[in-house]
């Protein structure tokens, strides 16, 4: 599989861009391949690259301090799985999902690195099937935007939309956690 403009356009952040701009991005994307059980992003790391997954399934997870029988332990909790539909993964996932599997033609992860230098990765991302992906560096993307200022707006708009919706969910989470906290206190 070689990366072309069509594949870039499948990713929602770039869906509004004209074909020629997508082709420019496709040119700077470094194509990669990996088997299942490969860590694509590590929680807490900083990075200036965005990962574009064209084929395969990945699991997003976070480290959590949970209370187990033996006391508090750090445990990795799955949050969601993302799966491409165009094309679908070339194999079945190595483990059955115990979280929701969200499907999209192709998707990008670590999108905040498009706007932030050294964005901190907020979760782990591991492959659960063979994955075909590409790496887009912030520098390369910034150069394209500098040369063609018009493409910045639709891309940054999508990134901002994702950020705002994350923020809304996060504020709901805080309210749920606060409620749970008071619930336990008032028992």
């Amino acid at each position: 599989m070689s990366i072309d403009a069509k594949q870039i356009k499948k990713i929602n952040y770039f869906s509004k861009l004209p074909e020629d701009m997508c082709a420019k991005i496709a040119k700077v994307v470094e194509q990669k391949k990996c088997g299942p059980k490969t860590r694509l992003l590590e929680e807490g790391d900083t990075g200036d690259t965005m990962i574009l997954v064209f084929q395969g399934q990945v699991e997003v997870s976070k480290n959590m301090m949970v209370k187990a029988a033996s006391g508090f332990t750090m445990s990795r909790k799955s949050i969601i799985r993302l799966e491409t539909t165009d094309p679908a993964p070339s194999m079945d996932p190595i483990t059955e999902p115990n979280v929701a599997v969200v499907q999209a033609p192709a998707f990008g992860i670590g999108e905040f690195s498009l706007v932030l230098d050294d964005a901190i990765r907020t979760a782990h991302v591991d492959s659960t099937t063979d994955v075909e992906y590409g790496i887009l560096k912030l520098d390369d993307f910034s150069t394209i935007v500098d040369e063609n200022p018009s493409i910045g707006s639709p891309v940054y708009f999508e990134v901002a939309k994702a950020a705002v919706s994350n923020l809304a969910t996060a504020s709901k989470d805080i309210s749920n956690l606060t409620q749970a906290f008071f619930f336990i206190l008032t028992r």
């Binding site: 969910t169 989470d173 309210s175 749920n176």
Partner: protein, 462 residues
Amino acid sequence: MQTDKQPQEETTSFGKIEEAIQVNQTLYDRLHESLVEEAVTTVEEEKNVQHYKDYKKNPVVEYLIRLKQFYQANDLFRYALWSFGLMILSTGILTIVEYDLFSGDVADDIGDTFKFGDDGPNWIDTFFHAFWWSVVTFTTVGYGDVSPATHIGKLLTIIIMLLNFGIVTLLGGAVASVLVAARLKGDDKLDENKFHGHMIIAGWHPAIQSTLRLIEANKDANPIVVLINETEGEIIKRAVSGFERLDVTHLSENYTQEAVLKDAFIEECGTFMIMPDYSGLLPNEHPDEDKTVLTALTAKSISDGIQVVAYILDDEYISHLKRANVNEIVFPDEHIPHMLAKHVTDPGVPQLFDELITQEEQDKGIQVVSIPKGLMGLTHNKISAYYKFKHQWLLVGYAIRKAGFSLEDQMGDSGSPFIRNMITEQLDSAGIKLSSDEHVIVEINPSDNYVVDNKHRALVLR
């Protein structure tokens, strides 16, 4: 002029009211004909299902189930059954291997008497003889009237003797352990199958007798009652004699102990009532109400779901009991000022209360009845009409069982499922229920369009 006019106006307005009532009555009748029919059919259907379930209880199946339970519960019975089985098996093997020896011997032994075979001893005679030998051997009596002759027979005998030695030891040990266990346990254990949805009353109070009498009178109430207190058995016996429907068991133990409450199957009980305990007190002594709080805490620690009703004399303990998550608190002194004041401000109200509460005649007074399933989801005015025209009862309001607060309801679908799941999982594993305990609250005379769901029961005046 004014005085002349008034009666006429009143007559007209009364006429209008009567007309309105008539119209309403017709409307109600028409509206609820179908409704009543539907509701009654549902109730009858429910009854039919119950009959069907009863019919399905086959006596043979039930007997087998009881036998199985006995087998599982009784160590001695289990060991004896296994020993007997092993003996039969070993004897069977020996009979096959040493058939010639035992059949020859039985012929010499018993001659012509008691033979199953016509000409000579057949396999039944031989097997019985081998079994006799087996019992004589393993009880270590050893008459020596018969013994295996061949090497292989002797080898088998050695195995059987050792096997039997094991069986005898096992059986002896079982007998001993059952006897020791019975001695340690003291009282007979209550029959587990009987206790489900029963009532447990902890502590002894003079009001218990009249409480039980009222419960006896209500045919729908569960008749199984366990009293736990250290009052003399004779006093209890006298107090609970004369009940026909109630089945009262007395446990003479300290009810603050968890093990005692578990013996009364508290996890299965419908209501756990804690009374101020007058056991062993002189007439001028006051019961220790700390015990009530302690018992409530113990019961709730056994299971959060137990419905605990506490009767308290000193209001100081109310806050403690609330903290212990007691479902209902009965504090009679709370009513006294109201009753006294109402005699002055609203004469007739205290009398009404007396009538309503102390009305002991059957099927009279204020009662809680289940609402037929067909009426669920309907508005208050329709349900009110159903009771009025179907039963001639006045629907006063509703008793509603509901949890005060449910974290799950509060969270709903908001936020990320990951965080919600984590909260529920962690609370669950810490043994914290996601909703507060259910309490009964009442909704009196709600508005006509108040919607009634399956948590509601009707409070009717009959």
